[in-house]
Every structure is written in structure tokens, then in C-alpha cells.
């Protein structure tokens, strides 16, 4: 076992840091208070991701046949860490390189790959995930948005909710129901967001402006070729995607960076000498590092080409614990940070609320751990 980064990995991290230093504006920390899906950050990301692409660090972890450099999971991790610590200047485009691109490559038709991969590689596309519905949140398989095949077209009717990025996205990775079979009746359709019949309403959120939305589909008609995978294959494809997504955002790194920032502020004010504050800060650091090592253990499995199972849920839950602890530390000892004393800590606090909810709720992760890691007998249904 080796817990240090290789010189090549260190060099890669420094390359990204140097790039961020050069390409982020001086007022970036204040700017990043805009939500990750806000109009301001989305517009910024469209320029920033072009520069990333030009520098070869938009998708260096993708395989060579997809136009990447084939650098692998550790470099993907390092890239994600540095971006997230910096406040995610890629905005919603992080999803493109983490899971949408690889999922398109694995399950897409040649037409879909040709249409959607190229804009992703230019840093010019934004997707949203049409998953949750008013009556289908954690119970995703209860979704009811229908897609009916009529004369070579799918006609879509229904509603999605809490959809990130929907306000400005150009394409929706949409889960629809094509038959009554609970899981095998769900089908993915790639829907251009400018298709007539789509209405998007923003929901005010704690994360920042423009982040989450309701999306209504009224007789939205797309050709049959917009179907992604086979009818009924959505559950399999989403499971594949979420395995990437669950590790996708290394929130523990921002939590740790926020903690360091908070400690520095307390030190600056001469308030980091009291023992209870120091002990509480150390407890937060332990939770951040614990989440980090648990995540790295999962990345190692990807490096070794092993299937990633329920242990990613364990790593994810460890991350939720770290996020919460750091947010609680900041509000207890630096409440002024939420009122503008530290844009960075405010940004962390805004985004921290998402940790236990997005990409499968924390309680669902606990269910998965109970059944598939601990192998406890399942609850009766």
C-alpha cells in the first residue's frame, strides 16, 4: 500500500492548480457564491471549460478512443478534487465529464455519440438529470412521467422536480415510464430542452439562485431515435451512471478546505487557542480524512478494474458525515461567515446542504449498506 501520490500525480495536481490560478478571476471566491447552476456561473463555465479543453484537462481521464488521454481514475479524482475545492468553476459541466460522456460512450447509438459527445469535449454543453418527481424521490422507481411511442415518436407527459441545471441545460437525461413494470418499465430518453411542450420553473433554494427546478412535459414529442438504450434498460444504465456519480463529487475535499479556512480565520482572530475549539476542529478533520480514505479505497477498485458495489455508498455516507460536521463547526464558531465574512465558507455552506440528498439520499445509502455490505436480511415489503 502506498498513501502518497506519485510524482506524476503530484505534477498533474499542480498543473490543474496552476491553471486555476491563471484562469480564475481575482474576485472568483465572491463570484462562486453564485449557485453552481446559476446563470452567472453557467456562463462563466462555458468560457472556462473551453480553456480547460484547450489545455487538455477537461476530460484527460477519458480513454484515448474517446479523445481523452486515458489517465485513469486517480487523475479523474485529482481533477475533481481540485475543481470542487475551487468552487467548481465547471458549473454543471462536471457531470458531462464524470458520467454523461462515459455513459453515452457505453450505451449510446452512433448517432447519439456523434451528436452529444463533441459539444461535451468542446466544453459547450449542459445537461440536466430528469430523475426525481413529486411522488418519486428516493423511491425513484415510482416515477410516472410517461413516454408513449406513437408513429415513430415518443410523446412525453409528466413532471420532474428538484432538477438541477434545468433552467439553462440544452439536453435532459430523462427517465420515463414506457410500461407498468416497476423497474423494467423505465426508459431513458435524451430530450433537447428547447423541444416544444417543456416548461421550466425555478424553485428558490438554499443552494443559490438557479439551482433547482420543476420541469413540466406536455405532449413533448421526440423521435424514437432519442431513446437511450433499450426500452426498460434505464435502471441498469442509471445504476452504471450513479456508481460514477456517487464518487463524482469529492465533497470531503471542500469540507476539509473550508475547515482549514475556518481555522485560519479563528487563528487570525486569536480564537483558536481554546481546547474545545481545537478538539472540535480535529474531530471534523478526522471525519474529512476518514471520508477521503474511504473514497480512495473505492477509487482503487476502479483502478484495479473491479466492480464497484455498495462500498461506494459507505464512502458517500462518510462524506455526508464530514460535510455536516464542518458546516456545524463553522456555524458554531464563525456564524458571521454566512453573512459575507467569508464567501468561501458561505459557498461551502450553501453546497453542503446537498450532500445527503443529491445522487441518492443518505438514507438510501444506509439501506444499501445494510443489505449489501452488512448483508442483513432485507426488510419485508
Amino acid at each position: 500500500m502506498q498513501f502518497e501520490w506519485t510524482p506524476e500525480q503530484d505534477a498533474f495536481r499542480h498543473k490543474i492548480r496552476d491553471f486555476l490560478h491563471t484562469n480564475l478571476p481575482d474576485d472568483w471566491e465572491k463570484f462562486s457564491e453564485h449557485g453552481p447552476a446559476s446563470p452567472a456561473l453557467t456562463a462563466f463555465a462555458r468560457e472556462f471549460c473551453v480553456k480547460l479543453a484547450e489545455a487538455g484537462i477537461l476530460f484527460p481521464h477519458w480513454p484515448v478512443e474517446m479523445g481523452g488521454e486515458g489517465l485513469g481514475p486517480w487523475e479523474q479524482q485529482i481533477l475533481a478534487e481540485e475543481m470542487w475545492i475551487a468552487g467548481e468553476p465547471r458549473g454543471g459541466q462536471y457531470m458531462n465529464v464524470n458520467w454523461i460522456g462515459p455513459t453515452l460512450q457505453k450505451y449510446g447509438t452512433e448517432e447519439q455519440k456523434a451528436r452529444y459527445l463533441e459539444p461535451i469535449t468542446r466544453g459547450q454543453s449542459l445537461w440536466c438529470q430528469g430523475f426525481s418527481e413529486p411522488d418519486a424521490g428516493s423511491d425513484l422507481a415510482a416515477l410516472r412521467t410517461r413516454a408513449d411511442l406513437r408513429n415513430g415518436n415518443y410523446v412525453i407527459n409528466g413532471q420532474k422536480i428538484w432538477t438541477s441545471y434545468a433552467g439553462l441545460a440544452d439536453t435532459c437525461f430523462l427517465l420515463t415510464r414506457t410500461s407498468d413494470d416497476r423497474k423494467k418499465g423505465i426508459t431513458i430518453i435524451l430530450v433537447p430542452m428547447d423541444t416544444p411542450g417543456i416548461t421550466v420553473r425555478q424553485i428558490p433554494s438554499l443552494i443559490g439562485e438557479g439551482d433547482i427546478h420543476e420541469v413540466f412535459f406536455d405532449d413533448v414529442t421526440v423521435p424514437e431515435t432519442a431513446r437511450f438504450g433499450d426500452e426498460g434498460q434505464a435502471w441498469e444504465i442509471v445504476a452504471y451512471s450513479l456508481r460514477n456519480e456517487r464518487l463524482g463529487i469529492p465533497r470531503f475535499t471542500l469540507a476539509r478546505a473550508a475547515l482549514d479556512r475556518a481555522v485560519a480565520m479563528l487563528q487570525g482572530e486569536g480564537r483558536f487557542s481554546r481546547e474545545y475549539v481545537r478538539i472540535e476542529a480535529a474531530r471534523c478533520a478526522a471525519l474529512c480524512e476518514a471520508a477521503g480514505t474511504a473514497n480512495y479505497a473505492v477509487v482503487q477498485k476502479r483502478v484495479d478494474g473491479l466492480a464497484i458495489g455498495a462500498e461506494s455508498s459507505s464512502a458517500r455516507y462518510a462524506t455526508v458525515m464530514a460535510e455536516r460536521a464542518v458546516c456545524e463547526f463553522v456555524i458554531e464558531f464563525l456564524p458571521q461567515a454566512l453573512a459575507g465574512a467569508s464567501p468561501y465558507l458561505k459557498m461551502h455552506h450553501q453546497r453542503g446542504i446537498v450532500a445527503g440528498v443529491a445522487a441518492g439520499s443518505a438514507e438510501i445509502q444506509l439501506n444499501i449498506i445494510a443489505s449489501d455490505v452488512l448483508e442483513l436480511p432485507r426488510e419485508p415489503r
Binding site: M1, Q2, I279, A282, A286, T293, S314, V373, L376, P377
Partner: protein, 305 residues
């Protein structure tokens, strides 16, 4: 970064499994509070498992893996101090090795018995002596320790002074205790999971109730992350990592011990089920090196000055 077990490490752990097989389970109704096996101890010494730290291709991570593995056994083994701290001080110090903090020598000392090496670590450096019966307080009856424990009556006037940095010994000591705690946490969780999966109430296994499933799942998250923090601390040799690992382990121990006995219900109050062997050891480890607060202060000092 490379977190997979090496072939050598897998082999060492497999060997320990074979060697420890006769000691892996206990007949019910035959479980005392503190359980030891001289035969197991002798077998471990003879096979060299307590000396892997000095073997170049094995090193401290393997030593931590060995300690974690052995802590899962129902029999208490003095492995942590011997395997992870002794090589730094003097690999030939007689076992068992008892580590005590200068100024805190009045507390319960695990594995203390005549002939043991007591190592005193503190501001005066690292000093040791071989303890004789006259320096050990009369045995107390009815103690609640799941380790063999005794108390020192004082320190001798003359001790062997070791030319080693006390801070470095403290670092290794923290990792060693955390590695032992990681194994105890793993074993206690496994024993609880087995029990609540078998035990039926209201016509179904207790483990099917979400009130229990979620708490056990959280315990798995914490137990897993203690394991990884311990290995990292062993691998980096960093004093901050060591303090964080033991802090997290002691936090975890505090969280799970009462939960697990609670989940076992009536059985959790008995000596018939071996759960206490791991939880009551964990309880004592929460007091090691001054407890969570001391590790927190040490970590804060290492991380932020």
C-alpha cells in the same frame, strides 16, 4: 496512491487466519470477561507475525494489518505494542510490552505481569524496566476489564534509557492502539450483525427493522473509515495522521459499544455471548493516551500549529 493489499500482505493475513483458526470461536457458556491464550501468544511469536514491521517488503502497514486482524479474535493478544512500537525502542525488549505515559502511571495497565517490559514515555524521554511482582498491586477481584489488567505501585529509581524520540514513540503508540481498536470495532460489528440477523421477534429477524439497520449501517461507515485511517497513519508515519486515526477510533468506540449491547437485548447483558470481549476492550481503549480530547489536541497541533 495504491490502496490494494500486496501479495505479501494477503499471504500474511491468510497465514494468520490459519494459525488463529483454533482460537476463532468459543464454546458458549465458557466466556470469562478477560480471555487470553498462552498457546496463541507463543504461536504468534514463533511464526514471527509480531516482527513484520522490520521486514522491508512488509513494514508498518502490514504490522497494522496484523494487529487489526488479531484484535478480531476473542482472545486478547498483546500484539499492538510489540508489533508496532517495540521495533522503534528495542526489538529485543521482553514481552509483553506495557506502554505507560509519564505522569499517568497509576491507571490500569494492560497485560501487566511479572517479567513484562514497562515503557514509560513522556517529557523525560523513553525509559523502560522489567517489572517484578513487588511493583504490581495486589490483584483486584471483580474488575470490569476485558483485558488482563494490573496496576503499578510506582516506578523504579533506575530505568533503561532509550535513545529514541518520545514523540515518535507516541506517534507509533497512537497508530498501534487505533489498529487494535479497528479490529475490535470490526469484530464487534460482525458479532452484532450475526446475532440480529438470526434473532427473530415479531415474527421476523431483528435486522429487518430499519431502526436497527440504519444505525448498524452508520456503524459500518465509521468502522470502515477507522480501518482506512489506521492504515494511512501507519503508511505515512505522520504524527497528525496518527492522532486523527486514534481520535476517530476512540470516537467510534464511544458510539458503538452501548448500541451493540442494546441490539443484543437480554443476551447483551450476559457473559454467554462473546460481544463483551470486544466492546469492553474498546471501552478501555477509549481511555488510552488521555482519550479523545488528547488526540484531538495532538491532531490540532500537528495540522494547524
Amino acid at each position: 496512491m495504491q490502496l490494494a493489499l500486496s501479495e505479501d500482505q494477503t499471504q500474511v493475513l491468510d497465514f494468520i487466519d490459519s494459525l488463529a483458526r483454533p482460537y476463532a470461536s468459543l464454546p458458549m457458556h465458557d466466556v470469562s470477561l478477560a480471555l487470553e491464550s498462552a498457546d496463541l501468544d507463543a504461536a504468534l511469536v514463533e511464526s514471527g507475525f509480531l516482527d513484520v514491521l522490520a521486514v522491508e517488503e512488509l513494514g508498518p502497514v502490514t504490522a497494522a494489518l496484523v494487529v487489526e486482524k488479531l484484535a478480531r479474535l476473542p482472545f486478547a493478544v498483546e500484539a499492538a505494542a510489540s508489533a508496532m512500537v517495540r521495533p522503534l525502542i528495542d526489538p529485543d525488549l521482553p514481552r509483553p510490552l506495557c506502554l505507560v505515559e509519564e505522569g499517568r502511571t497509576g491507571g490500569p495497565v494492560r497485560f501487566l505481569r511479572p517479567g513484562a517490559s514497562v515503557v514509560v514515555v513522556g517529557l523525560s524521554g523513553v525509559r523502560s524496566f522489567t517489572v517484578d511482582a513487588g511493583m504490581i498491586a495486589a490483584a483486584q477481584e471483580d474488575t470490569l476489564y476485558a483485558y488482563p489488567v494490573a496496576f503499578l505501585t510506582g516506578l523504579p529509581d533506575a530505568m533503561t534509557v532509550h535513545d529514541v524520540d518520545a514523540g515518535e514513540v507516541l506517534r507509533a503508540w497512537r497508530v498501534a492502539v487505533a489498529a487494535e481498536a479497528a479490529g475490535l470495532l470490526g469484530a464487534a460489528l460482525a458479532a452484532t450483525v450475526t446475532y440480529v440477523s438470526d434473532r427473530k421477534q415479531f415474527g421476523r429477524p431483528l435486522a429487518t427493522f430499519q431502526g436497527m439497520r440504519h444505525r448498524l449501517a452508520e456503524d459500518q461507515v465509521i468502522t470502515n473509515s477507522v480501518y482506512w485511517l489506521v492504515l494511512r497513519a501507519a503508511g505515512t508515519g505522520d504524527s497528525g495522521d496518527a492522532a486523527l486515526a486514534l481520535l476517530h477510533a476512540q470516537e467510534a468506540a464511544k458510539r458503538v459499544c452501548y448500541d451493540y449491547h442494546q441490539f443484543l437485548g437480554g443476551m447483551g447483558m450476559t457473559l454467554e455471548h462473546p460481544l463483551h470481549l470486544w466492546t469492553y476492550r474498546l471501552k478501555l481503549l477509549t481511555a488510552e493516551l488521555g482519550g479523545r480530547g488528547e488526540q484531538g489536541l495532538a491532531a490540532a497541533e500537528a495540522l494547524w500549529g
